[in-house]
Amino acid sequence: MAIVGTKGIKEYKDILKGNVWVFPDNVDTDAISPGQYLDDVKATLNHTCETLIKEFPNQVKNGDIIVAGRNFGCGSSRETAPIILQEKGIAAVVAESFARIFYRSSFARALPVIEVECISKEFETGDEIEINIPNAEITNLKTGKKLKGKKIHPILLNLLKNGGLEKQLLAELKQK
């Protein structure tokens, strides 16, 4: 079975800091979680995003943050896309826009995703980024450039704080 655990989910923090990987426009879910490895966690971990950035699967570190162009996560509904990024240690994705299913699955998995116009021009791979999640404020700590993104809807921000939809539902059922 494909990866289904929640161990990649990080505890919510208002402020995140990390090193940046810059991704292009239209990063599709086949690139993040290739169809031929959907039944093999180890292979998916070894091959994620390699068709875009060859060294990514080997060099990505815990706490790194992805900065991308438009339409990030387009394609399939496979939730292994946000999951595999979390398992590789990615703490957040900041992009100019997100494909719809990737966006909602990220909240289901408590992976912070923020939309910021024109952000991909302001970063290079290896720059350090600071994100204030509730204010949707982004700072490039290398260049000092500050950007303002679209604020996350309070209902969705709450999902991030609760550790995602699965944790929230399981906790709710337990209490009832």
Binding site: M1, A2, V4, N26, D28, D30, A31, P34, G35, Q36, L38, D39, D40, T51, R70, N71, C74, G75, S76, S77, R78, E79, P82, S97, F98, A99, R100, I101, Y103, R104, S105, A108, R109, H153, I155, L156, G164, L165, E166, L169, L170, L173, K174, K176
Partner: protein, 422 residues
């Protein structure tokens, strides 16, 4: 206050958060149907985490459809185990709408079995769930955790979408299909023109299209980013659905003064066949720019274009002829019903005689995990909906997307070929 779009009407009738909402608001809404295929496996694992175990209860088993279409028959021991897990779960939970490996692709089987009806709010564990928009249902794909939540609660959060309109006019030329129109739209307006948005496709061309051709449009609309993708709500839909179910339903039409965030017009009277070139669906060129590109494989199938009329047009082009020596043509009917129909009408025989191989119904070669993969230097002309790098095997291979007619003509000649000459 202005009128409502189809999406706003269906969300309002299902809302648990009142009806005084506007686009971009988030509401909870109750679900009429949840469709899940292989992702049901994740639902089962989550389900087993519920403590205490007596609370492991699906909100309404009659509102669930489970089927197998991606890995059929199971190509590995792992997938066989997932199928086994799901079969046992389905039995134990009393989910009677279960379709095992023989039935075909979810987006064909769900409407064929009468599960998709006008006015419904549907989620599916598959991105191309937008297809049921052709039947006037508000339906969209979600991930597996959202599926799990839906299974238990029977409701889910939705962001109320803006609606855009594509008004399509003119008569499609000979051997130019609805697929060419929707690929043209992707090329002109990009793969994110409809991100988070609901689309209403209107106009005389839409009205004249068969239900199957409308399904192609609502299906491919996901590749434009769409949340919902409605075809025209007309008598054709009513007649089609009534043949499949006795359940009552009512067509949902937009108010005349509904508000659309954008409206686009497309006249297809002189439309040339269109092709999505590697490696994005919106990298579109008219076929005349591509003629002569050699192909190694031709794939006719998928939830976009694996229906009877798609096989029929290919058979018409290939009748009495033999496909090119250097081409492997794979035909995968979208469902058992279509497979049988093609067998009975002689279309299967025509395709086999022309040199094609016909596989069992399902997703087939489209998603690169069930045979029909491409080697590093190979090219495929495909009637499916995705041409991402590595989608059908090697990352160095190239996938071109076109209509079933284009796939058949290209298989015949061994290179990308304009079907209008056949």
């Amino acid at each position: 206050m202005s009128g409502k779009t189809i999406a706003e009407k269906i969300l309002a009738s299902h809302s648990l958060s009142g009806t005084n909402f506007k686009p971009d608001d988030i509401i909870n809404a109750k679900l009429d149907l949840i469709m899940s295929h292989i992702g049901t496996g994740k639902v089962v694992l989550d389900f087993n985490k519920i403590r205490p175990s007596k609370k492991r209860k699906i909100f309404d088993p009659s509102k669930i459809v489970v089927l197998f279409d991606h890995y059929v028959p199971a190509p590995s021991e792992r997938w066989a185990a997932v199928h086994d897990l799901i079969r046992k779960f389905v039995k134990k939970q009393g989910i009677s709408n279960f379709y095992d490996i023989r039935e075909g692709i979810c987006h064909q089987v769900v409407p064929e079995k009468g599960h998709a009806r006008p006015g419904m709010l549907i989620i599916g564990g598959d991105s191309h769930t937008t297809t049921y928009g052709a039947f006037n249902a508000a339906s969209c794909g979600v991930g597996n955790t959202d599926l799990f939540y839906g299974y238990i609660k029977g409701e889910l959060w939705f962001r109320v979408p803006h609606t855009i309109k594509f008004n399509i006019t003119g008569k499609l030329p000979y051997n130019v299909m609805s697929k060419d129109a929707i690929i043209k739209i992707a090329g002109d307006y990009t793969a994110e023109v409809a991100t988070y948005k609901s689309i209403e496709f209107t106009g005389e061309t839409m009205e004249n299209l068969t239900i199957a051709s409308r399904m192609t449009i609502s299906n491919f609309a996901l590749e434009l980013g769409a949340k919902f993708a409605f075809g025209v709500p007309d008598q054709k839909v009513v007649d089609w659905v009534k043949k499949r179910t006795d359940e009552p339903f009512e067509l949902i039409k937009p108010d005349p003064d509904a508000e659309y965030s954008e409206t686009y017009d497309l006249d297809v009277s002189n439309l040339e066949p269109q092709v999505s070139c590697p490696h994005t669906v919106d990298n579109v060129k008219p076929i005349s720019d591509l003629e002569g590109i050699k192909v190694n494989q031709a794939f006719l199938g998928s939830c976009t274009n694996g229906r009877y009329e798609d096989l029929e047009i290919a058979a018409k082009i290939l009748e009495g002829k033999t496909i090119h020596d250097d081409v492997r043509m794979i035909v995968t009917p979208a469902s058992k019903e279509i497979w049988l129909q093609a067998a009975k009408s002689g279309i299967s025989e025509t395709l086999i005689n022309a040199g094609a191989i016909i596989t069992n119904p399902g997703c087939g070669a489209c998603f690169g995990a069930l045979g029909g993969l491409l080697g590093p230097s190979e090219k495929c002309i495909s009637s499916a909906n995705r041409n991402f790098k590595g989608r059908m095997g090697s990352a160095a291979a190239e996938v071109y997307l076109g209509s079933p007619a284009t796939v058949a003509a290209s298989a015949l000649k061994g290179e990308i070929t304009d079907p209008r000459g056949y």
